[in-house]
Symmetry: D2
């Protein structure tokens, strides 16, 4: 940590500052420039009261050298974290696609959704039972009933599921229904109580980036979960808020290579929320994979026009399948591949409903 002083700071003032630092049990090192003096602080600066330095009127600014996140940083762990979900790896060479509807609506819709996911060759299904909605007057999700529909449909096809947790009081339900991956949504990225609670579990967590969260804040949110003991964390970029209003959000593709360097956690992308329109999903998905993402979280629906929420951004089963094929080609020329399952035709599936073995 450095304290940079204003020009013409006297040696008495510097001495005051040094004394403050030494009182904290830390050492100083002085670097005298032509105009400004820089006081380096050596030692564990975690509990240094920066505010007290900033309140000194001869201090211009304080700069930190160390990063505020530890456990999730690449400095702490060099190798990629691979989160295993029922044996399927997220992170590493395989790229995993998670598809399914915005909201869980009916058992029939979930069954059709699961069939479409299987038909497209994706290995995970998503679906929202508890829905964070901007308006109190719109459909808020079926709640526990939604979990039931989701899990039941997924079981028939042996699909691990992802669904969003919004309330600490619902954790027991998530455990009861054996949700495979808990999603923390963009509006809850800094709901620290929720982060602490999922940090106590072993269940993998998809942590979506807050709509305007910096990378640093996002990694600090992940650090909350990791600090609790749960390091099965998957980061999900889902578009950021900018000045542009032509599309809902701007997919921050720059975040992908940056995160791959800065953290060992897997990074996936939600192209559906980023663009907010189904016709943008394909381009954004391809871009995400080309930039190095470890997976995608895509909204699909058996019949988008009838969707109870976000129908304009959902892919049809055919669009989903076509996209998967394109993604596979790009993944392969870049030395990766989409995660694979012992693919069984949907008709066969529909007939015998036996549990299928999964392979990454």
């Amino acid at each position: 940590m450095f304290v940079i002083t204003k020009p013409n700071t006297s040696s008495e003032q510097i001495a005051t500052l040094q004394a403050m630092v030494e009182d904290l049990g830390l050492q100083t090192m002085i670097m005298q420039g032509s105009q400004k003096t820089v006081v380096g602080i050596i030692g564990d600066t975690k509990h240094v009261p920066e505010g007290a330095f900033l309140n000194l009127d001869f201090v211009e600014c304080v700069k930190s050298v160390s990063k505020p996140y530890k456990l999730v940083s690449r400095e702490f762990q060099k190798e990629d974290t691979i989160v295993k979900v029922r044996g399927i790896p997220i992170g590493g060479k395989a790229i995993q696609i998670i598809a399914g509807p915005c909201s869980v609506e009916t058992p029939q819709q979930m069954q059709a959704s699961a069939e479409a996911v299987i038909a497209a060759g994706a290995l995970f299904m998503r679906g929202g039972a508890f829905k964070p909605r901007t308006s109190p007057y719109t459909f808020q999700g079926h709640g526990e009933k939604g979990l039931e529909y989701l899990v039941e449909a997924a079981k028939e096809y042996d699909l691990p599921v992802v669904t969003e947790l919004m309330d600490v009081r619902d954790i027991d339900k998530f455990l009861k229904y054996e949700v495979d991956i808990i999603q923390i949504g963009t509006r809850n990225m800094q709901n620290f109580q929720l982060l602490k609670e999922v940090g106590r579990l072993k269940v993998p967590v998809i942590l979506k980036r807050g709509m305007s969260a910096t990378i640093k804040e996002w990694l600090m949110a992940a650090e909350y979960i990791a600090a609790g003991g749960n390091t099965n964390i998957i980061l999900a970029e889902r578009g950021i808020r900018t000045f542009e209003s032509a599309y809902r959000n701007v997919l921050d593709v720059s975040a992908i290579p940056f995160l791959k360097r800065e953290t060992h956690l897997p990074v996936i992308v939600d192209p559906s929320h980023a663009g907010g329109q189904s016709w943008m999903v394909s381009a954004l998905s391809l871009a995400a994979i080309a930039a190095g993402a470890d997976g995608l979280l895509i909204e699909s629906h058996p019949n988008p026009d009838q969707a109870w929420s976000d129908g304009e951004q959902a892919l049809t089963p055919t669009e989903l399948k076509d996209l998967m094929n394109e993604l596979r080609l790009v993944a392969r020329v870049l030395g990766r591949d989409l995660g694979q399952r012992n693919v069984v035709p949907v008709s066969a599936y529909s007939l015998d409903k036996t549990t299928q073995p999964l392979a990454a």
Copy 2:
């Protein structure tokens, strides 16, 4: 609601759209321009599936006429809402100042804080018992113990208190300690479960604007509380996130006149978090009052250099008092005034500790 079509849309396509609308029990009205056709939809469009229209390939966009918020809008209620807290009005002609430390630290610090609040002439005290902190490794607040310290110190001086609620599971504690105003912090502005819960109470709520929340999202968050039956809502602008990094946030002073026109709820400003530096607080406070704010939420501390959090933005007791005097002058020339109490010298206070009558 309007659906605007692309150029060269055929009359058959328009007919398809009309049929979709009529199936919903609504009426259409066609406006034929030189290039585009506009289909107006008349009736209650609350449940219209916009996505289905957007998925038609001849549709360019859908525009809404009505506002998504009702109860909190000026259209719904013309007169200003005045939130009464132990008889003190927030909203209306008087401008109310809430001051106090970022974190509740010790009984002594809270006592000194309360004395400073009284000495400055402010009518409310703030202090955080549950602290949302970016890092899991920093002080997270004393929790219930903090509520106790806060409330005890406030009682001695008969100061109503404001403190932040982060977790639905803590509501009982807030009721037990009779917290006068519950604050929903910037990171929880779209924690819909929390909003629903405080919507069920009668306790006044300060709803801080999300760091990057649009006015519309903010009012929709207030609508969540109002829809639950609690209309004792105070909006607090606290600076927004922009591209500028020279100061922590940009105080959105433009929001003040905009909100006063758009909603009947009182609007206050937090100049401390907006600037993030104590030397900016005075200018931002004056600007907020001049722009029409109904109050301020200011961080002050008996000894900012020793503060456990946010010391760099806290005012000293003297600075707080000086600022109050400036604010009063500006308020008066603009036809308003700071809320007043039968002011009793701090020394007298310290001696007899009797409960004082409050007057706005």
Copy 3:
């Protein structure tokens, strides 16, 4: 165009508005909702004084149906514009790579740069003679001398060149040196005088997006050039300014599919300025191509460590070549290809310096 009134607007007020519209020679159509009245305005609304409507106190807002840009819109021209530069197409199926240094420094550096461009298989060279620099105290470019070095090196290898124009007074020099493509930089995107002047030329123009320009403003800037008669316009996305400061800018990959739908102009991407760090260039380049970009504008330098400007974001000759190979693979699986030249080994080039035929 629609004028939406506030609730409880009287029929007399509506009549006033209708009269205003009819005085302008336009027709109105009234749509009466339950609360608000909408007045549609039919006819050519280009010169309608929106301000006068907004100043009526019963008017809530005015919404426009038509787009402000015409010539550059997909509505105006359905087929893709293909800009031909010495026979090489920009737009269409081939993807073109433009590479070269930030600044033109010396004849030797430019010769080495040209060799690297050829060796990598790119068809265009870039290099800045007039440099827009944030600080008046840094290298401002060699000016006309720079044009000379650039053009001379390029001629030897028969490489068409791209270079930035900052000042209307320099146009004659650009014509004298026969610059193949004129670049309008991000800071001049709304330098309307400059846009008007290049609109009078026939030389192709790369129009970079302003750092915080909306898509609409960007297309309006292109419209300035097109309105002057020059439709040889190439749009270049180069990263936008957001709240994130971990990297210089955020590459707005969402803009690519959006622009391909909204305009017929070719769209290229500058991954070097977007990321600001050479190690990000590869991921961003691949993402851009995967999302559908028609080309890339990449900074490369024979020796980045010695570059006079932006060395931290320049690729070495080897990195450039490796990236080209990856880009080619991705382009091909997506049904496109990089533009090709009858490739001749650099050594041969260096020996005989004859003009090579170009092929796309």
Copy 4:
């Protein structure tokens, strides 16, 4: 300047870095932390090639101690700069109001505008002859004819004028018409050629902040002008671009105290462009003055409904006068005052048209 290395950097690597620095004739100072090493660079670091350091793979980042702007910084000059325009001070204790229409339209409109400015008690008139317009199809200003109308109307009332310069080729016209203050508009804040040219003049310059310019970029733009020898610079905050679309821009009121600390130049505010609606001008103007601004640039028009541009944000003569009265009250309680002229009733003015003496 500091170079911060990644963890586990070897002593050989540090030695390499030291050698590079010493080759530049500068000294190093090593600070060994528990994980990272920090290499301080002592001496004149203006020409240090940061990129070369960043390209070293053991370097994490480079941080600068000194500010990139010199002449305009408070460090360079402690006392406030007071720009004198025909004897009237801008900066210092007096607050100056500049009012007038967006566009110069007709001689009659300018005469009426001047009368309104005088009647309100403002000391300067604005009016645009060269208009930067987003669309090529809207009114672009009268050009030189506009300068003539502006200056003629202003002369009758002895009002100094402010008008915008967009093109280096127009400078002679600005000098010929003796424009008192040249405005550099928001879109030209980084038109470096234009900045260099006005830097060669003695005429005072209002430098508007770019719509998304950081404070640092803005001060660097001012540095361009100052470096040319012209230190008669007035900074004008005019609202910044953010995610919020409820109003045109967000007035960055936080910039005012920050700039007053960081630079010695006067700071004024344009509340009209910031809000984009006439009903917001009053609140924003009061906020700006309360926050410490040295003046305002307000759009007013004899008849806003008939304005050729920006009518929705222009004040009427009566609104302008009422606002001036409010501003005066706020200025006075804060120890300042509006600049005063020996006020003469407009009627008298209209009668004899003699030149009036000006007093600040």
